[in-house]
């Protein structure tokens, strides 16, 4: 890790790194580092590592947020129906797009040939700030003063999977670490018995981009997100097989750990690596009781459950996951990725009907998200928890098949809240029809740089050597870091 961790010398950084993190990394890599630095004398420190691969690490500079809840709306919500009102669009509805807007590459349609589709949803200036939010989100309207909407997001991947990779990894190609993996790599976890990064996908687990959306890419596998299920077993292989009790598993573990200790005595060259494996078994054993507790929403009060809409069949699923997300950040999980939809027309991909689709899908997430913001605030957690809401792209102002809208990565909306952010503001703008981001453009690289900044990480310094290059989450971009402008002064 070439990030210059806040204070002092490289040596102190290494020492810290060794004692706190070494356990999880390829141990030869560690030894190489020591040796290359001519610091073989530090070896005993390495050997005494805690063995917890997720131990917390300090940020580059003062962090405003300690954890992130990333609300991913898979399929691409329409900016025109949600957070980016376009009065001109309604005036020109039914007409072709004025030629001055030019062409974009959409998935199925030619935007220059299709008539413009007006927005049937009404926007209301909400909160003290008057931030306009569509009527599809009545509950979020009450939280307007907490939201900072970025209306000028853009990138150039016009299909779901590549765009989901851009949203989560900054690159449209496979093989890159997700933003949560980068953050976990940079900061570690603040939990001793839970994964550092948790993914709460739809109950069927389906997402067009698949596991790379929370993957470790070229980072070591310890940084991949752990999918946690709201129903059933929260983590893959967390449940003991039928008929195996905690005691009998402990008995098995005691025997294998006893053998591991004997073996370790005879394996001096990899003793630290073996220590780490021994420790990982203990963490796994603890996770088996900690993780079910963390996702057990039965422990929440009736009022809280009501707040998240758990009694309502439409909001129950996403509400449950938002509530679990809160419980996880409370317990020190660094990054929680909550996913609505898979990227299909039955969720956020509104090729057929942007009006009905937005209403239907917003209904599922609106109350839970508003509840999450309110609940975090009430518990004093909002200040240290960054909430990010975004789809993988937006949609076209022109229609598809009459009522639908096609994919459009050239301009879309994202919002952030919590983590010290000044709510009630909108940054950037799309053109008058919402086709392209035109003012203060924010590429996903910029959005990622912003997220890292709010967590105290410098996107230029958070690097990892891969294929001969010091790779970054933001690649060569990220210059438009909005953090300073977003923060409450």
């Amino acid at each position: 890790m070439s990030s210059s961790i806040s204070n002092s010398s490289k040596l102190a950084t290494r020492r810290h790194w060794i004692t706190r993190v070494a356990g999880g990394l390829g141990a030869w890599g560690l030894l190489d580092l020591l040796e290359r630095d001519g610091r073989a004398d530090l070896l005993p420190a390495a050997l005494s590592g805690t063995g917890n691969p997720f131990a917390a690490k300090p940020p580059h500079f003062r962090a405003r947020a300690k954890s992130v809840i990333f609300l991913m709306m898979a399929g691409g919500p329409s900016q025109m129906e949600t957070f980016d009102p376009k009065p001109l669009l309604n005036r020109l509805a039914g007409q072709p797009m004025p030629p001055s807007f030019g062409k974009i590459l959409a998935q199925f349609t030619d935007v220059t040939k299709e008539p413009l589709l007006g927005c049937k949803l009404t926007f209301r200036p909400s909160g003290q700030s008057g931030l306009p939010i569509s009527e599809a989100f009545p509950h979020l309207q009450t939280q307007a003063d907490r939201l900072a909407v970025i209306r000028s997001c853009h990138h150039d991947a016009f299909n779901h999977s590549p765009a989901q990779y851009v949203l989560t990894t900054g690159q449209s190609r496979l093989g890159y670490p997700s933003v949560g993996a980068w953050i976990t790599y940079g900061l570690g976890s603040a939990s001793d018995n839970l994964p550092a990064m948790v993914v709460l996908a739809e109950p069927d687990g389906k997402l067009k981009g698949g596991t790379p959306c929370w993957g470790n890419g070229f980072l070591p596998a310890i940084y991949q997100g752990a999918p946690v299920q709201a129903q059933g077993t929260p983590i893959l292989y967390l449940n003991r097989p039928p008929g195996v009790s905690a005691q009998s598993q402990r008995k098995v573990l005691d025997l294998s750990q006893w053998l591991n200790h004997l073996h370790r005595e005879q394996s001096a060259p990899v003793a630290y690596e073996l220590d780490s494996r021994i420790a990982s078994y203990e963490l796994a054993f603890r996770m088996q009781s900690a993780a079910p507790e963390a996702v057990d929403i039965q422990r929440e009060s009736a009022a809280t459950r009501h707040l998240y809409g758990l009694e309502d069949a439409v909001t129950r699923d996403f509400g449950t996951r938002c509530l679990i997300a809160r419980r996880l950040v409370e317990r020190g999980v660094r990054f929680v990725q909550v996913i609505s939809g898979s990227g299909d027309s039955k969720d956020w991909d509104h090729h057929d009907d942007a009006y009905a689709g937005t209403l239907r899908q917003a209904r599922k997430v609106d109350q839970p998200i508003a509840a999450l913001l309110h609940d975090l605030e009430a518990r004093g957690l909002l200040e240290q928890t960054l909430i990010v809401w975004s789809g993988e792209f937006g949609r076209t102002p022109s229609s598809q098949g009459g009522q639908g809208r096609d994919h459009n990565p050239n301009g879309f909306s994202m919002w952030m809240a919590g983590g010290g952010i000044q709510g009630g503001q909108a940054i950037g703008a799309t053109d008058e029809l919402g086709l392209r981001a035109v003012e203060d453009k924010v590429h996903m690289n910029d959005a990622h740089a912003t997220i890292l900044s709010l967590l105290g990480l410098d996107h230029r310094k958070l690097t990892y050597l891969h294929q001969g290059r010091e790779q970054r989450l933001t690649d060569v971009g990220g210059d438009n870091d909005l953090a300073r402008r977003l923060l409450r002064i």
Partner: protein
Amino acid sequence: MPNLLTKRLLQIGATLIWFSLAQAQVAEGGDASRYSPGHWAFSVPKRPEIPGVADASWCRTPVDRFVLRRLEQARLRPAPLASRVALIRRATLDLTGLPPTPEDVTLFVEDPSPDAFFRVTERLLESPQYGERWGRHWLDVARYADSGGFETDIFFGHAWRYRDYVVHALNSDKPYDQFIREQIAGDELEPGNPEALLATGLYTTGPVLQEAGMVPGKLEYDQLTDAVDTTGAAFLGLTLGCARCHDHKYDPISQRDYFSLQSLFAASDQFDLDPAGKRLRDRAALGNTQNEFEMEQLRSRAKRETDPTLRRSLLRRLGDHYLAKDAQKREEERVFLANIAQKKADVKQPDTLIDGRDTYRVALGERCLEGPSLIPTRVLAHRDQSLETRILKRGELDHPGDVVPSAVPAALYGEPFPTNLSPRRRRSALARWIASPQNPLTARIIVNRVWQWHLGQGLVRTPNDFGLRGEPPTHPELLDWMAVEFMEHGWSLKYLHRLILASSTWQMAASADPDTLLRDPGNRLLTRFQPHRLEAEVIWDSLRAISGTLNREMGGLSFAPPLDDQEMIGNFLKWPTSTPSESNRRALYILIKRSFRFPTLSSFDLPDNIASCGLRDITTVPNQALAMLNNRSMVEQAAAFAQRLITEAGANPERVVDLAWRYSYGRRISEDERRRSLQFLGFPCSASSVSESHLFENALQELCLALFNTNEFIYIQ
């Protein structure tokens, strides 16, 4: 606003400066050798003198001389030789990816003849499992997968043919230079040789972004990019990809060089062949649908299935798939069923309808078995019209620059590369240039890989980067000596294995005293054998081998072990579950989908298969422990292992635990371990009979599971 304007102006300025620099570099003809005069890896390896050492008695092969020389210079002593038990376990896992059987161990340990270990090595090198184990290593480098990745993640029903080619090539010890030539240009060099055609599967199994087809030229460009990047990484150990967008900052590869390399592949495309080797269509579809894949899967199973009931059920499913694929057949079925319904309506026998339908489906399935494979062979072959290759500014398709000729990077020297190549000779020229003793990189790269796969770490620790950013070798003379030796012995990989395994260096124990550990912590001087964790696939195979459940069937279409709902999380597409009889085949044959890592193994650092992987990560995460403790297949294997122990050792707990240790670790159980494990099994004193057999069996299963979860089991040392 002023801010924004200033920023914009600065951006424009920067772009202009960048642009003029880029132009200047291109104008210089891409000769970037000035960056790296004398970089060790860019000059042809010459056979160095075998060094003298003080203690020649330790040295069994010249390899050891190079190693000991360094140790003596550093005043360090090599570790003692490993025990015989450790040696045979190490050799067997190393060469075949499977643990030795207790008989293998006994035979070797009790064999007093001086060539005992040599004969073990020979036996292992001759076993077909050798090709499976080392084939898997090569497939990492070849970024092999059975699907295209991304959203559509289309199936590559043809990919296994390349995988089997690799396994076969290794088993038959195909000379490595020929192995290279066949993969890059088998079609050009040996058009009549079906195996050489299959070898080009290296280029038909890369990732495919199907949607790229919407942008004209993008799919072709992606394919060329993958071809050049994979060729560079796999054979030359160079990360060429950086030069796609700009001149490589560190290595002497200019953008012009990069696109000149693409041009070598620009006359080629993927084509499907019929069984006679004739080209099927002009342009192959990008991949197969799930239905096609499943049909092929059922077909290959039904052909091998001997149980008539199972066979019938396979045929029925095959018939269903056939109907799903073919609209005309669906109509036939409708008519067929209507007829039956008509006839039987009076008799009121609803079952007959089902029976009739069943027979029809089975018959359809039977018909599908006829004829050749449903999924043709996919190879690299020539287009009618070669694509024009231009330098793309910033690597972007919509910023084309000058047309570039086919060429190899000038700075890499090697043999002179022919100019004005006919489009149909371009890849063979590249193949010859790479697989040449004059190429400075080729032999060094593979020798280093083989060394790494044997010893856990290479002499160069950046196996896919021998450029200026890569690490220098820890033993440069040894690397060069082995490279020359390897080439002079017919580029034989088996020769290289023998050379390494016969050395005292490889045979050292995995031990070190504290002083040595402090002075050589990373084992860069080779003071000992560095223990390393088994790869995911070897863990899978070892579990099954010792439990006696391993199905050793080789080759053919990849199989998909059953997964439950939890395991399917994250998989957008259906998993084409195979028949249970295949569940315990070697992990090499498990279906590799690029968008979905096989869950049981995913926490054990599988490669991503997007780009060539020269060195796998070795991480330690709690998810591995959960997978090893709670995954139901672990419980199944533990039960099978327990059953095997009881069958083979009888109901004698002492003999049972002794055998358990010999299977799991290759060694005998120690006194302490025996006491502790008997206690675990409910025998406080040294008992010799079993009163309650099912309690004993349960406890034994737990003991087996505990053994699977020990570090000694999953480490080579």
